[in-house]
Structures are given as C-alpha cells and as structure tokens.
C-alpha cells in the first residue's frame, strides 16, 4: 500500500490562498487506510482551513468530497459536474491521484495535500513502515524475503557495511541492519550460501522513469503505437 | 549486646502470670503502645515502659524483669488499663509482677515496713493518745480501733 502523510498546514494553505472556491478531495483507498487522506482527514483539513481563513478575515468557500480512488478515471468522472463551481482542487490522494486528477480536469488548479512517502505496511495501529522501493527487479527470492534495497539505508547488495553496531544500522540505531536480518533468517533456513556469491551491480534499467507496465494480454494494444 | 536465645527464656511465664488474679488478659496484648504513650511515669522515666514490660512477659524474660527496680515506679493511675483496646489490665499486671517479685524476695527494702505496720496496728499511721487528743480538740470522735486479729490474719 502507498503510505502518505499530511503536508504541513502552512504549505497547504499557502498553495490555495489565492482561490475562493475550494474542494478538498479525499481518496478512499491507500491514503484513507494510512489515515492521511480519507473522509475524516478531509473534514479535519477543511475545518482547519475554514478557521484559518476566517481568522485572516478571508472569504473562502471550502467543500469536501471523498472519492473511492483518485487513480481511476471512472471515480474521477463522478465529480465532473459538481466540480464546475470550484476553481481549486486540494487533493489528499497520493501523488498518482493528484496527477490523475489534474490530468482529468485540465482547467482546474490542483494542489496536493499530502506527501507520498513510500510503499509500506501497517506495522501496528497508526504505524506504517516502508517495505518496497519498486526497483522493478525483485531479489527477495535470494535475500530471504527481506529487501536490502529498501531496508538497508545504503541499499547495499552484498552484505552489511562496517558501520553496523550490535545488529543495528549505523544511521539509525533503532533500526535493525537489513543484512543482519537477512543473514540470520537465511542461516536459520540453512541457505546462507545464497548470499555467499557476489551480487553483480544492480541493473538500473529496470527503474527507468516513468515506469510503465502493460498486461501481457494487451501488449499489442498498447505497445503498437510506441514502436 | 549479645543476642538473647528465645529458647532459653521461659515460655510459660506469660501463662503463669495469666493465671494470677488481674493477669488474665496479658496475652491479648498486640503491642499497640497506647499504654506507654499515655503512661505518666514513662514520660519522666522512659525505662518504665508498659509496652516493653508486656513484651518481656510475653517473651518469657521473667528473671530479668522481676529484678527491675522500675516495677515499683508505677503510680497505679490506671490510665494504661483504661485505654488498652485489648483490655489488658496492665495496672493489675504490675501488681501481679510485684507480688511475684516479693515471692522471690525481690521487693525493694522498706516495703516490708508497711506490712509490719499493718501487722502491728492495722493501719499505716499509728493513732495513739496524742492523735486522739488532737481529734478531740477539733471535735472529732476518738478512734479506738481493734487490730489484734491482724497479726493472725496476715500470717501465711
């Protein structure tokens, strides 16, 4: 799941202060689950903005709307009609959602309300941590289900750096060293030999931007023109 | 101070004391210290401490206790006895202890004198002619008093 967190309020406020009719648009999927951009967050942000602008004696109309997902055209379409009243959209979706919203409604000023942080998991109530860098070249098969590219701060491929202290990362003593975790897990499973050979340098072509994934079945449909 | 061996003390002391008139309640004591806190003698002479005396009784420290001079310092004001929540008649206990000490010949010298006076004249102060003369002057009746039976009465 994509994990995001609310942008500093001052930044949000500054981005929309020139406009009068603002729609705060939440997204009911990933950002709702990580408590950053669902219906409740939309309400909170809207109230906050109303208070803040009122304090500035500024007349601004703020409305609220939360879509199922902002990364699907179909859901975005559902607000086409009501959107006409608004000159500014404040999206609490992830970066993808914000862009798709902007793309869908070319005439509207679209602003992000959250910072999209990473792909992660809910470790506990209210706590999310990163698990995947979307490198496009998954090596978890070899590293015992633990991704060094994500979990090692240096993204090392061949073992821990010398800065590891008591099994913890040199950068954050709270965090376990990814390579120690990998080593211990593989040792337990009796397959340390998997990492005894040298990993060749990463092939960064897999990460060439912007990413594009086409379902095999439709390769012909979408790739025909791009040749 | 050398430790006292509990086994060398007399566990029966308290039971014996409890069998004496006035000592019956001794074992009820739970050492709250009200007796000592209210004792007027203890304020002047801390060695005399009812709570500690009872403790010595309960632990069986007979030998040491009966020798103590302070047993004779109780003013018999009964304050301890009246305020004891466990109904230990401590003033009576003091009398019992004194009786026990007397039996062991541990009474302070001079206390026997009182008994001798009673033996002889039946009262603490002799009333002779001089006294009766004075009484007469004041218009008070003569005191004759027959105490012949006392010697016999107090003979064990």
């Amino acid at each position: 799941m994509i994990i995001a967190s609310r942008k500093p309020f001052a930044e949000i406020k500054k981005s929309i202060e020139l406009y009068e009719n603002i729609l705060v648009v939440g997204c009911g999927t990933c950002v709702a689950v990580c408590l950053a951009g669902g219906k409740k967050e939309v309400g909170l942000l809207a109230s906050q903005l109303r208070m803040s602008f009122a304090l500035d004696k500024k007349k601004i109309q703020i409305s609220e709307e939360t879509l199922e997902r902002q990364c699907d055209h179909e859901f975005l379409e559902t607000i086409r009609e009501p959107l006409k009243e608004f000159d500014c959209l404040l999206s609490l979706a992830c970066g993808a959602g914000v862009q798709f919203l902007a793309e869908t409604y070319p005439g509207k000023k679209v602003f992000p309300g959250v910072n999209t942080s990473f792909i992660g998991v809910a470790e506990a109530a209210g706590l999310w941590t990163e698990r995947c860098r979307a490198c496009g070249d998954c090596l978890l098969a070899i590293t015992g289900g633990i991704c060094p590219r994500t979990l090692c701060v240096k993204g090392l491929n061949n073992g821990p750096c010398g800065g590891m202290i008591d099994g913890k990362c040199e950068v954050d003593p709270e965090r376990p060293c990814a390579w120690v975790s990998i080593y211990e897990r593989l040792a337990e499973e009796g397959r340390v030999n998997q990492i005894e050979i040298m990993f060749p340098p990463t092939d960064f072509r897999f990460q060439t931007k912007p990413g594009r994934v086409t379902h095999r079945a439709y390769l012909r449909r979408y790739n025909a023109g791009s040749k | 101070m050398d430790p006292i061996d509990l086994k060398k003390l007399d566990p029966d002391f308290k039971h014996r004391l409890a069998r004496e008139l006035g000592g019956e309640q001794i074992k009820k004591c739970f050492s709250c210290g009200v007796c000592s806190a209210r004792c007027p003698i203890e304020k002047i002479e801390p060695e005399y401490n009812p709570r500690r005396i009872i403790r010595m009784i309960l632990l069986g420290m007979e030998e040491e206790l009966l020798k103590e001079e302070f047993l004779w310092h109780c003013s018999t004001c009964y304050t301890c006895q009246e305020s004891c929540p466990q109904e230990v008649d401590f003033t009576e206990v003091i009398f019992v202890l004194r009786n026990m000490a007397v039996r062991k010949g541990l009474a302070p010298a001079g206390l026997g004198a009182a008994r001798n006076l009673l033996d002889q004249q039946g009262r603490m102060y002799e009333i002779g002619d001089f006294e009766n003369e004075k009484r007469k002057e004041m218009g008070l009746p003569e005191i004759k008093g027959n105490a012949k039976d006392y010697r016999e009465l107090l003979k064990d």
């Binding site: - | 004496e20 008139l21 006035g22 007027p40 003698i41 002047i44 002479e45 004779w72 310092h73 109780c74 003013s75 018999t76 004001c77 009964y78 304050t79 006895q81 009246e82 305020s83 008649d89 003033t91 009576e92 009398f95 019992v96 004194r98 009786n99 007397v102 009474a107 302070p108 001079g110 206390l111 026997g112 009182a114 008994r115 009673l118 039946g122 009262r123 603490m124 102060y125 002799e126 009333i127 006294e131 004075k134 009484r135 004041m138 218009g139 008070l140 009746p141 005191i143 004759k144 008093g145 027959n146 105490a147 039976d149 006392y150 016999e152 009465l153 107090l154």
Partner: protein, 293 residues
C-alpha cells in the same frame, strides 16, 4: 441515708480538715455517717506485696460493715477504690471468696458480699444530687474559680469504680464545684495522676508528676486546686514546697478539699471546715469571701 464511715489511715491523722468538713457537710445535707470502731486499713498498701493479703484485709472491713448492715462511705479515693475492687473480685469469684473467708475466720468474720462501697463525693453527686445541693446553697461562691482534681482511684478502674464518670471525661466534681457558684477550670493536665503511690519509692518521680499539674494550675491562676483524696493532698499540699524547690519556681497553689468548698457555700465559716489546717490557702479567697457578708 446512712453509711458506715470509713476514714482509712491518713485522714484521721493527717487530714482532719477533710474529716471535719466532710462530717459537717454530711450532717448539713442529711447524710448519716456511722463510725465503726474496728475499721482499719483498707488493704491497698498490701496489694503490691500480696494481693490475697490485701483482699483479706479489705474483706475484713467489708464484713464489719456488713455486720453493721451499712454501706461504706470513704473519704479516701484509694480506700474507696480498693474496697470496691475487692468487693467486686470477691462477689464474682467464688473460689477467691471462700479462700478469703477461710482466712477471715481468725477474726470471727465472714464476708458475704452484700454491701456497696461509695466515695463520699460520689454520694454527694449520686445520692444527694446536684439539685438538692443547689437548693441548699446559701452563700454562692460567685467569682471564684477552682481546678478540680479527680485523682485516679476515684474513677478508675472503671470496671469496679461503679461508672460514676467516664474515665476520659469525668464530670461529677466539676459539676459539684460549679453548683457552689464557683467556676471549675478546664485544663490540660486534668486527668494527670498526683504521683502519691510512688512517693515512698521514688520521691523525685512523684514530685515531678505532681509538679506538672501544679505548674499548670499555677499558670491558670484561680483560687486553688480542689481535692477529694488525702493521698493526692500529700502530693499537692505537703510536697508543694519540695516541688517548688525542684522546679525552681514559686507555685503557691492553694489546695483545699471539696467538702471545705461546699461547706462555705452551704453557709458555714472556714474554721468549722478546718481551713486553719490548710497549709496553702488562698487568703484573698477566704477574706474576699468573708467580706461579702
């Protein structure tokens, strides 16, 4: 109201003022006090030496009163207390009673347990009663104040003392003082013991005890300390000089018996009440009182 009058050892020899005033007051209030010839020591002095002996002695006195068919009135609190105590023990303890009666045979007496023992003050309070006394007051002692001293054996041990007063908050003497028109002082050391019983053993200890009370009463002012027991008198009056020396302080606390106080209020003169025998008197009180007439 007729009582066998038990004087004890001290009163008839050393405290004639108490005896004089008590007899006068009794007569005045219609209380008949009968002197029994063979009354001797109550037995209390023997209690420390041999409890049984002391009970035998007490029983002897009680048996004499029984013979006379009279309840006992004592002036001394220790006598009263001990005779009551012995009475109670013997009444409730059958074995003890027969043991004592065995011993009494030499005196030709038998204790039966049929009579009561009461302190003189208790008789005033309970039998005569405050109201009847009030009616008889002719010269109220308005304007004077006295510190009551109940002493220990008058009210304690409560079990055998007859429950005249709650031990922590006695009232009888206070009320009796106030019925005379005088004010009864309330003070912190009210319940303190005079120390009389240790006088013979450790005089200094006894003096310290009595000294505490005397100092407070001295501080309070007033017209004196009112007693009801000759033992207490020994401490507060006879020992006062020594106590002054010990405390390095002038006390001059006048000491008088309640019967003396009451006698004045009932209308007689100080001489009749033996005031001459009081060693420390409040002359102002006596003269002030005389001058009123």
């Amino acid at each position: 109201m007729k009582y066998a009058f038990f004087l004890g050892c001290t009163v008839p020899v050393r405290n004639l003022n108490y005896e004089l005033s008590a007899r006068w007051v009794a007569r005045e209030l219609g209380l008949e006090l009968v002197d029994l010839e063979d009354f001797q020591c109550c037995g209390f002095p023997l209690k420390s030496l041999n409890l049984l002996d002391s009970l035998v002695v007490a029983a002897r006195n009680l048996a004499l009163a029984e013979q006379a068919g009279l309840p006992v009135c004592t002036l001394c609190s220790a006598c009263g207390g001990f005779l009551s105590e012995a009475n109670s023990h013997l009444q409730h303890n059958h074995d003890l009673k027969s043991q004592v009666n065995d011993r009494l045979k030499v005196s030709g007496l038998e204790y039966k347990g049929t009579i009561q023992v009461k302190h003189f003050i208790r008789i005033l309070y309970e039998e005569i009663g405050i109201e009847r006394i009030r009616e008889r007051i002719t010269r109220p002692l308005y304007g004077f104040s006295f510190a009551p001293h109940y002493g220990c054996h008058y009210i304690k041990p409560a079990r055998t003392a007859g429950g005249i007063d709650p031990v922590e908050d006695p009232k009888s003497l206070t009320e009796l003082i106030e019925v005379t028109g005088a004010k009864a002082l309330r003070y912190e050391t009210l319940l303190d013991c005079c120390g009389g019983s240790v006088l013979g053993i450790k005089e200094d200890l006894a003096n310290t005890l009595a000294g505490n009370k005397l100092s407070e009463v001295n501080r309070l002012g007033g017209n004196g300390l009112v007693l009801i027991c000759p033992f207490c008198n020994v401490m507060f009056e006879n020992q006062q000089k020594k106590i002054e020396k010990k405390l390095e302080q002038k006390l001059k606390v006048p000491v008088l018996y309640y019967s003396q106080l009451l006698g004045l209020a009932l209308g007689t003169d100080p001489d009749t009440l033996g005031f001459k025998l009081n060693r420390i008197k409040d002359k102002e009180f006596l003269t002030g009182f005389e001058r009123r007439d």
